[in-house]
């Protein structure tokens, strides 16, 4: 070809375009690699000594991601990070506060260069179970077996409340450190109850009798978080376990067939579904979300709401003067119950992780050890108004009223503390799965038997799905 004639026309143009396309296509397979492939980075480790039991590299950088949500990040920058810097003056801390954890870090997990310490929480939480089964998390056994910050003769695991380590165990090892201790139960306005001379019920019969009185006073006895009906699972399962013993919950967690059909679970479901039938639930609750329902409760339109101990701070902006928020454990379904009336559900929550591919995982572990020290935990409680899993760390700290009430409830329960794991292990099973069935039940659209069948189907779905890693306890 020595000249361009009019032949330089559409045909050649297309040919050229195809050739360019041919250049792009092989390129795109390379790119297809980009979205799903990553490298990894070198890990540094220092020498373990008595003073530095976890072998923290003393002059490395520690990259930290804190979820900037309800707890903010001041507890990290004002309490834990100064403690770390004091001990390792040559180390650097790269602090990041993030609202959307998954948005910021998902691609870094894929690329193999995640940070050293992550507060994997909030709406953008990357499911912990998935991270574990993808082998993305660092085993925390060394942390819990290390000498505690305050007393070298006591291991870290022995400074924590029962169940704290277990709450982060997936399979055979702990992968998640839960810092906050959340107490679950029913919440009411003590001022209102005192005015009317109402006393908190300890049995379900007393509860229904009181609900009748409350209704007569022109107040709806109950509300719940409407479309997020899983909040109702909490009293439902707690009451079931109080009646039938904690094995009821173990069976559910282990996905045993028929676990949701246990008599105690059915009885509990029946009791709560009865609230709707008796007209004890605030009208329109079914169509509300948690903000609307809890808002109505704060306004005094409803007397009881089920929630965890974050409720007080969540409602702080809308709580009127003279509203004294108080906690009570769920009532017993029968006098002939397996557990005490004081039994409460307390769940270690607010997850912190060290990625398996972190550059400085030992620094991440040490940072956790600092958080779990008396000073670190007390600072956490003071900054975020939440109890922690560290024994005795909140003693003498002045807590807000509702939290004090919850703490008293927890103390009264003694060893009768329970919780369940399936929502942590199998996030999908809880929501949308069980959440939608409980929503149906509470709206009165399905019977208790249909609810049981629905929950059993959700458990079966997980049980029979080979792609989901199973855990037991």
């Amino acid at each position: 070809m020595t000249k361009i004639s009019s032949e330089w026309s559409r045909r050649n143009f297309l040919r050229g375009a195809l050739a360019t396309g041919a250049l792009v296509l092989p390129g795109s397979t390379v790119l297809a690699g980009c979205a799903t492939s990553g490298g990894g980075q070198e890990q540094t480790e220092g020498e373990a000594t008595d003073d530095n039991p976890l072998g923290v590299p003393t002059d490395s950088t520690l990259e930290i991601y804190i979820f900037n949500g309800g707890f903010g990040d001041a507890y990290a920058t004002d309490v834990h990070q100064p403690m770390f810097k004091k001990k390792y003056p040559n180390a650097k801390i790269d602090h990041n506060a993030e609202v959307d954890i998954a948005g910021a870090l998902q691609s870094r997990f894929v690329a193999g260069n995640p940070p050293d310490f992550v507060n994997d929480s909030g709406d953008g939480q990357i499911p912990l179970g998935q991270l574990v089964s993808d082998k993305q998390l660092y085993d925390l056994t060394d942390l819990y077996d290390a000498p505690s910050w305050d007393d070298p003769n006591v291991k870290v695991r022995d400074t924590l409340v029962p169940g704290a380590v277990e709450s982060g165990v997936f399979g055979d090892a702990p992968y998640v450190m839960h810092m906050a201790l959340t107490v679950y139960g029913l919440w009411y306005n003590k001022t209102l109850f005192d005015e009317h001379g109402w006393t908190t019920p300890t049995t379900w019969d007393e509860m229904t009798a009181l609900c009748g009185e409350i209704k007569k006073a022109g107040i709806a006895p109950w509300t719940y978080q409407g479309v997020h009906a899983r909040y109702m699972n909490w009293p439902l399962l707690t009451m079931a376990a109080k009646l039938g013993g904690p094995e009821v919950l173990t069976a559910i967690d282990n996905l045993e067939p028929g676990a949701w059909g246990h008599e105690a679970v059915k009885e509990s479901a029946n009791a709560l579904a009865g609230l709707q039938k008796s007209g004890f639930i605030l009208d329109g609750t079914v169509g509300m979300d948690h903000i609307q329902a809890q808002g109505a409760w704060s306004e005094g339109k409803a007397a009881f709401v089920p929630c965890g101990s974050w409720l007080e701070s969540e409602q702080a902006d809308v709580t009127p003067e003279g509203f004294e928020i108080a906690f009570m454990p769920e009532p017993l379904l029968s006098q002939d119950s397996a557990m005490s009336a004081e039994t409460v559900r307390a769940q270690a929550g607010e997850p912190y992780i060290v990625p398996a591919q972190a550059k400085n995982p030992r620094g991440g572990l040490e940072y956790m050890r600092i958080m779990l020290s008396q000073e670190g935990a007390r600072g956490f409680t003071e900054k975020v108004s939440s109890l922690t899993v560290v024994k005795g760390a909140a003693d003498g700290v002045e807590l807000p009223r509702g939290l004090t009430s919850a703490q008293q409830g927890l103390q009264a329960a003694g060893d009768d503390v329970l919780t369940w794991m399936y929502p942590t292990w199998y996030k999908d099973m809880e929501n949308p799965g069980i959440n939608s069935h409980t929503g149906e039940l509470m709206a009165g659209r399905i019977s208790v038997d249909e609810w049981v069948a629905g929950c059993e189907a959700e458990a079966k779905k997980v049980r029979e799905d080979d792609s989901i890693t199973k855990y037991t306890r």
Binding site: K3, T20, V24, S28, Q106, V227, G284, G287, D289, A296
Partner: protein
Amino acid sequence: MSVIDVAPRAEARGAPRRPKPGPALQHGKVGFVLAFLAVPVVIYGLFVLSPYVQAIYISLTDWSGLTASQTFVGFDNYVRLFEDDQFWVALKNNVILMLVVPVVTLALGLFFASMINVGRRGKSGIEGVRGSKVYRVVYFFPLVLSMAVIGVLFKYVFAPTEAGGIFNGLLGLVGLDGLTQPWLGDPRFAFWCVVVVMIWAFVGFYVVLFSAAMQSIPKDIYEAALLDGSSRFTTFRHVTLPLVWDTVQVGWVYMAIQAMDGFALVHIMLGISGGPSRAGDVLGVALYRSAFNSYRFGYASAIGVVLLVLTLIISVLFMRAARRERVEL
């Protein structure tokens, strides 16, 4: 040389020959064409085609979205998808969105646009109804709001009375207390609330679009129709509609594709599970849920591929259905 010489063309037409263009010119020409084409094609390939190819590949793997490696699983994700009841619920809702929303939106859009532009028979012939200038602006309001704002707004409009629901409040004001409902908490109504909001959000755009088309219709055609004693409806049916049909056709395809989405509104108004009884689910939300709630990116990509195929089919079908002889002015 970097500019195109007209010489070759002239040469082809048999014009007097000039000195034969050398390789330098040819080189310059290729370079010129490449400079204009290669960059956009590469960018298009990189940011449009390659994600499609990647998504199709990912849909054939079990990728969780969190690892550097993934296993090829063939069509497992698609098998699982077609066996998933929730997928069919979502698909059914997408079909409803696709049929109801465009039809109602376009019909309302045409009606409002014709009222605003040619709705009145005034002294000076055909003109818009009284206050049409105001309406024209008002109909455009929803378009300045983002979908997220509209979703949050209507979540409160349809909230239960006890949570300050505006719609229930209005029903109460006109004495229709009996009709109040927890709209978004009832599987019978929740999804239709989204449909209504979607129509509300889109109709303004089509009023503007059709108004523009109607303004280009010569007034003398209307005068002729008026002199012939044609009624308002007949005028609309036989004059206005045929003359804006091209625009309606464009709007039709555009609307159908928009309605396939529905993600933002459903996600905000009904939540990630698809509302009460999960009855208001749409494919977009199912995709999002699989990817960012369950971290099954392989499965989510399979939904995405199905959505892509559906959208392509719908566009072709709608374009076929709307094909009609064009009226030349």
